[in-house]
């Protein structure tokens, strides 16, 4: 790598196991400001688990997380948020029964000087953010349950960017969306990238993310197969990494690479 800047995130030699199964085994990934890194692999390859360690949902067994070159202590989702790490989960993780504003501010509600919820201010800010993401969105008073998949996705994304995230994790961001909404999310990612936000895209489908990503990191059986710049490799080569663990010439092999020699 020619990049000499400090990475925004560096996860070094991360391992975690559940009941004897090594879900993630000695995995290392990194992410630079304004960069989109796609984390690829089959279902069960350990990519979601790895990223849940970064977002604080799981505690790692061993390994280090560095944010801006400094060791970070992430034990729960609140800690992760303190470091500017925001996550959009595959399951969308929204509370269905409350409205968009309540979801956007969940866990970080605005309050009036008397300590009560400042619903009006939260709704005003929500209207502003949602207006930027999805100008057609009007259903501010309805519970999120009543919204379409794309609208729910925009609520989840709005929540992530509302608090000036520096690191954004998107787990299968377009899995639940139609083509038009997928394009919208793509636009959004480009826009966030321009603002210097580092983005991890997690997907098992290479076509979803290849054009958006600057780099790919491929995982297989809990181990990192290798890293590559998307301009250096073809989709087929990346598919080879995902399926066989075969690392192309221009990629950097990881501990999970197929041993050919």
């Amino acid at each position: 790598m020619t990049d000499t800047r400090t990475p925004l995130v560096e996860m070094r030699n991360i391992s975690i196991s559940f009941g004897g199964i090594h879900a993630v085994d000695n995995a290392s990934v990194d992410l630079y400001p304004g960069e989109v890194v796609a984390l690829l692999g089959h279902n069960g390859a350990g990519k979601s688990t790895l990223i849940k360690i970064l977002s604080g949902a799981y505690k790692r067994d061993s390994g280090d997380i560095l944010i801006n070159g400094e060791p970070a202590d992430i034990n729960n989702p609140r800690d992760a948020k303190k470091y500017g790490i925001e996550t959009i989960y595959q399951t969308l993780a929204v509370a269905d029964n409350v409205d968009a504003a309540a979801n956007l501010y969940l866990g970080r509600e605005l309050r009036t000087p008397w300590g009560t919820l400042d619903d009006v201010a939260m709704e005003a800010k929500t209207r502003e953010v949602m207006g930027r993401l999805n100008p057609n969105f009007q259903r501010f008073k309805e519970p999120v349950k009543a919204l379409s998949g794309g609208q729910r996705q925009s609520v989840a994304i709005a929540r992530a960017i509302l608090f000036n995230a520096r690191i954004l994790i998107m787990d299968e961001p377009t899995a639940a969306l139609g083509p038009q909404e997928t394009a919208q999310v793509g636009e959004l990612i480009k826009q966030l990238k321009k603002e210097g936000i580092g983005i991890f895209l997690i997907s098992h489908d290479i076509h979803d993310v290849f054009d958006l990503a600057d780099r790919v990191s491929v995982m297989k059986n809990g181990q990192v197969v290798g890293h590559a710049r998307t301009e250096d490799v073809t989709k087929d080569e990346v598919l080879g990494m995902i399926i066989l663990g075969k690392v192309p010439e221009k990629a950097i092999p990881g501990p999970g690479a197929m041993q050919t020699t």
Partner: protein, 436 residues
């Protein structure tokens, strides 16, 4: 730009609606709650006809309000418990145990320390009860949240444990009488605030209604949100104030019984007039307590962060956890709050009975859960209102009192209440399916 399209869209939408729909949209009235009020009115009018005009009398309505108070207080907490997909089967037993402890404190322990009829007796007993209730609830909550035992099991255990503990405290003996001041919390002739104070409470309530509506209008104006039309604001204010003042008028037209009024007249040197002395009861203190609890709980559920977390937790526990909410502590707090409300209900019912007994609060857990569920709290979690649950408690109590007035035998009373619960929840399911 966005605002213009919104209003245009709204106008287009409202033009195509019929007047009834437009009315509900403009006033933002919860149609579900309105349905419950309708059901309540049908029950009231039905029993009034069947009992030959005995039901809708100031006396019966006043008694009804007092009888509802205890379960209504607990139902407000049960809403939060059920909203988070939990259940509390132990509320009746907690009520019994806390009531017994408060009874023993004021009837046997405190008089020895402070002397008989000491003015601080009632407040010390009540505070001890509140702390005990909160501690028991917190214990249940901690077992549920930190040891991951299902709430059904923990509180089923609590149902047996605390009932047994109630029995154990006095070896089954009934404790009586209660402290004179403590007794006021149970209602009765002395435990009512009288006509003047009731009108003052009514006036304050009307001022609060007007202030709330003006404030919400101002807030919406500040951020340029769509407003309710003016006529809708006036309508809501008028209906709210009319309901409040109507209720006050009813409780103020229920006079003290002749014997008590006569004793009072003699004691105060008032000449006994020919037609008897008309001293109105006014609002009963337990009812006042229940209303205050309802307001406070509504405030907690809708205006505080804790309430927001409760609902988010009920809607999607995983999302709440991932959003960084300390979900376990929220659960502990909910059950502690529930325990405290049980203590308030225990104070009301022991004061009303003027005794603490073993059987106090038996089956109350079922009435409390039924009230919350009839009041629209979904057992699937995430949905429910405090006002609905209190209204649900009133519906349950109306059915029971009505059946007593009409002279239906006890076994049939239970059969009817049981069937009503099932039918009410079925109707609600149908309503919700249609609303989607």
């Amino acid at each position: 730009m966005a605002d213009i399209t919104t209003t245009a869209a709204n106008r287009a939408r409202s033009a195509s609606e019929n007047p009834v729909k437009r009315f509900f949209r403009a006033t933002e009235i919860d149609t579900r709650l309105l349905g419950m009020v309708g059901a309540l009115l049908i029950i009231w009018i039905g029993f009034n006809i069947l009992s030959g005009g005995l039901f809708l009398t100031p006396r019966n309505l006043w008694n009804l309000s007092v009888q509802t108070a205890s379960v209504a207080v607990m139902a407000t907490g049960m809403v939060l418990v059920i909203v988070t997909r939990n259940i509390d089967l132990s509320v009746g037993s907690i009520l019994g145990f806390v009531g017994m402890i408060m009874g023993v404190l004021q009837a046997e322990i405190l008089p020895q320390v402070l002397g008989f009829n000491h003015p601080a007796t009632w407040i010390l007993a009540l505070l001890a009860g509140l702390l005990l209730g909160a501690a028991i609830g917190a214990l249940h909550g901690a077992i549920i949240a930190f040891l991951n035992v299902p709430s059904f099991i923990v509180t089923l255990g609590g149902l047996l444990v605390w009932r047994g503990a109630t029995w154990f405290v006095t070896s089954g003996r009934t404790v009586a009488p209660m402290d004179a001041t403590f007794r006021l919390m149970g209602g009765g002739t002395e435990g009512s605030i009288g006509a003047t104070a009731s009108w003052i409470v009514g006036a304050l309530a009307c001022i609060a209604i007007v202030a709330t509506i003006i404030n919400s209008r101002k807030q919406r104006q500040r951020f340029g949100f769509p407003q309710r039309p003016m006529w809708a604001e006036y309508f809501l204010t008028a209906v709210g104030c009319a309901l409040v003042l109507g209720a006050i008028a009813v409780v103020n037209s229920y006079p003290w019984p002749v014997a008590i009024a006569r004793k009072y007249a003699d004691a105060n040197g008032i000449a006994w007039p020919d037609g008897g002395l008309f001293i109105p009861h006014g609002i009963a203190i337990p009812v006042l307590i229940a209303i205050i609890v309802g307001i406070v709980m509504t405030f907690i559920a809708t205006r505080l962060r804790f309430g927001r977390y409760v609902f988010a937790l009920g809607g999607n526990p995983e999302a709440a956890e991932l959003a960084g909410i300390k979900t376990r502590w929220v659960t502990v707090k909910i059950f502690a709050l529930m325990g405290m409300l049980c203590a308030i209900a225990a104070a009301i019912s022991t004061a009303r009975l003027n005794a603490a007994t073993n059987a106090q609060g038996e089956l109350d857990e079922l009435y409390t859960i039924a009230a919350a569920v009839i009041g629209g709290t979904s057992l699937a979690g995430g949905m429910g209102t405090i006002a609905g649950a209190m209204l649900g408690a009133l519906v349950m109590q109306s059915l029971q009192s009505g059946m007593v007035l009409v002279g239906i035998d006890t076994p049939f009373q239970r059969i009817v209440v049981g069937m009503v619960l099932v039918v009410a929840v079925w109707l609600d399911t149908v309503y919700r399916a249609r609303a989607k």
